[in-house]
Symmetry: C2
Subunit: 388 residues, 2 copies
């Protein structure tokens, strides 16, 4: 196990009706809020009204900035920073999924900074101060509701970059699984794919003696898979929605990766795909992972065999670990396919036109991934494996 | 899954040499500290000197209060409160195991309170304010290093009582697994028994649809059992000591019990035994649990069968769940025995003299336990089952 420091002070309010706490939780920090959200869905299903009412009950002055899109854009972040400065707003309430939260975090990082907030995403610079961010989560996926990261896209340069900072964790996260009942099937699945990927990035590690966290991540995989089948059949199943939402938070909170060197190569590769094609992050991940696995499994066949046995219940055959490793990869790919996630670039109509460009951009700052360090040629090979 | 609120802001510094951070972490809060510890072991093995040096490096003024014993006493808590008030100390650094930390938490609760700190342990009263507490952990067991609870014994009345308060969680917890190399075998085992018990209290629940947290707890059990055998053979095995220390923290941090109604009946019963006989808490728990399980398993045979299969690898026989349930209980008892933990009152030379008194005191405030609510007669039956 590696040495580590862990601190995650986010207050988690989980359960039915929890969105009604938004006002009270916000009031602990401020009398004036920037309410940040995406499109029409929160208005359509009544969440917007509930949050507004909850804030008004506490006499909190509300400024609004909607319009966050998947793969959230830097332009809107700039707009949010401007509003906060002009109106002297010191708290951001993000109501939505990972994109809204990531956008809110970026605004929170930029308001008290004299330079360009994009600096934090493309250099080692850290924000001198963050506005506190609160969250009402509507999509279990990114884990951004308690995580230390934010991913923003600079559209004109087709750049999608991450900024990680421990001071970025939200001060509270409100999770009501009922709010996810109305998610379209595709969005539910993309979220699940993202959650699974956050486990995979942590699971495939070179750190030794990490049995406990192995088992925590395996437990998350197993429950996630079980509950995926349930929500596909019964989208209004509270229990299954709740498990998925709780897994989505905990798998990316950091705690399941403590003592482990995490990988994150597949995420880097996926960012290049969705930066150019604007496909859902979760769709890109279910495409990249099976290809990545096929490319790297020989690096630690035993770990892949363990994955096959413990997560997918493959039978144990000592001496036949390579076959078992491949069986596990195949089972994961089949799971993606069976539930309706894409498993190849072909499935989302992406041709081989920009593979070289993606591989080059992906490794522009050096190799990506820690389990196996991937250079440009490796990333290109993985992308080619992902073609069909 | 039940609704819940969770927040655990403790900063966890884990790994080799981490005790050297004690001064820096303390300095964030204070220039004056009450150093609270137990007996001679921290001096014998050099930890005391290291901590003193680390504090002095930061020019922190040090006041000391040693002498904490297992089942920490209220008298010493009063003394700590007095010192903090006299010397105007606003921070307590606990160096030791659960007893030292629980004692530090009690002092922290009492300093700013006009009344008797014991009030918090015997009534619903909450401390108006806590001094911040930092921890350097030496025994993985109680989980007190990040938990929200403290257990104190009032010797003259033979009362051992718990106080739970979210504001009681330490501000930082330093865990160096190397510090546990020198623990005597018995103390290692009592710690492991306590850790296991913290999982069992959460595992046996009436809450439905808690598959994810079931699996997290099961993972903790499996890793704990695996690593117990390793440290018994190789006390200086860093990897195994590290896994046990991390499991000990996480299993009682609260996060593995979220969404579940926890039991805690067995802990209440054990407290009555160790209040009278002053045996180690962990020894009492390995005695009480098999008896408790035998008494309550019919309440949810499937859960006990699942425990047998998932934790102890028992073979699955649908339709024979009761037999499997009993097999699981037997396997747990055998594990305790095999590693050298007592499994009956006879094993620790406790006769049946005070069983009635224990059962009565245990249920003085009403039934204990949530999985099955135990009345006086139930507790007595369990204690009788535990006799041999």
């Amino acid at each position: 196990m590696e040495n580590f420091v862990f601190q995650s002070p986010t207050r988690i309010i989980f359960g039915k009706g929890s969105e009604e706490e938004a006002g009270k939780e916000t009031k602990k920090f401020t009398n004036k809020v920037l309410l940040h959200y995406g499109g029409q869905s929160i208005k359509k299903f009544g969440l917007y009204d509930k949050v507004i009412k909850s804030l008004k009950n506490e006499n909190i002055e509300i400024f609004e900035l909607g319009g966050v899109k998947p793969n959230p854009r830097l332009d809107l972040v700039y707009e949010g920073i401007k509003i906060c400065r002009q109106k002297n707003i010191n708290f951001i309430l993000a109501v939505g999924g990972g994109s809204v939260i990531d956008s809110a975090k970026a605004i929170a990082a930029g308001v008290k900074y004299d330079g360009d907030v994009w600096d934090f995403y493309i250099s080692d610079k850290k924000a001198p101060q963050f506005l506190p961010v609160g969250v009402v989560l509507t999509i279990p996926a990114a884990g951004s509701e308690t995580s230390n990261g934010s991913v923003i896209t600079k559209e004109d340069e087709k750049l999608k970059k991450a900024y990680v900072d421990e001071n970025m964790r939200p001060v509270f996260a409100i999770l009501n699984p009922e709010l996810t009942f109305t998610l379209p099937k595709e969005q539910t699945l993309y979220g699940i794919s993202d959650i699974l990927a956050h486990g995979l990035e942590r699971y495939f590690t070179n750190s030794k003696n990490v049995d406990f966290s192995d088992r925590l991540i395996e437990g998350a995989f197993k429950s996630l898979i079980k509950n995926t089948y349930i929500v596909l059949e019964k989208p209004l199943d509270y229990a299954a929605r709740a498990e998925i939402m709780w897994i989505g938070l905990l798998i990316h909170n950091g705690i399941l990766g403590m003592g482990r060197i995490e990988d994150w190569g597949s995420h880097m590769i996926e960012h290049e795909i969705s930066a150019i094609y604007d496909i859902a992050h979760g769709a890109g991940l279910s495409i990249v992972f099976p290809a990545w696995m096929k490319y790297v499994y020989k690096h630690d066949i035993n770990r892949f065999a363990q994955f096959a046995v413990r997560v997918f219940g493959a039978e144990t055959y000592f001496g036949e670990e390579e076959r078992m490793a491949l069986e596990g990869i195949s089972k994961l790919r089949n799971f993606y396919k069976e539930v309706g996630l894409p498993v190849s670039l072909k499935d989302v109509n992406i041709p081989d036109t920009y593979l070289e460009e993606m591989a080059k951009k992906c490794t522009a700052d050096g190799p990506v991934g820690k389990f196996v360090e991937l250079e440009e040629k490796d990333v290109l090979s993985i992308l080619k494996l992902a073609l069909k």
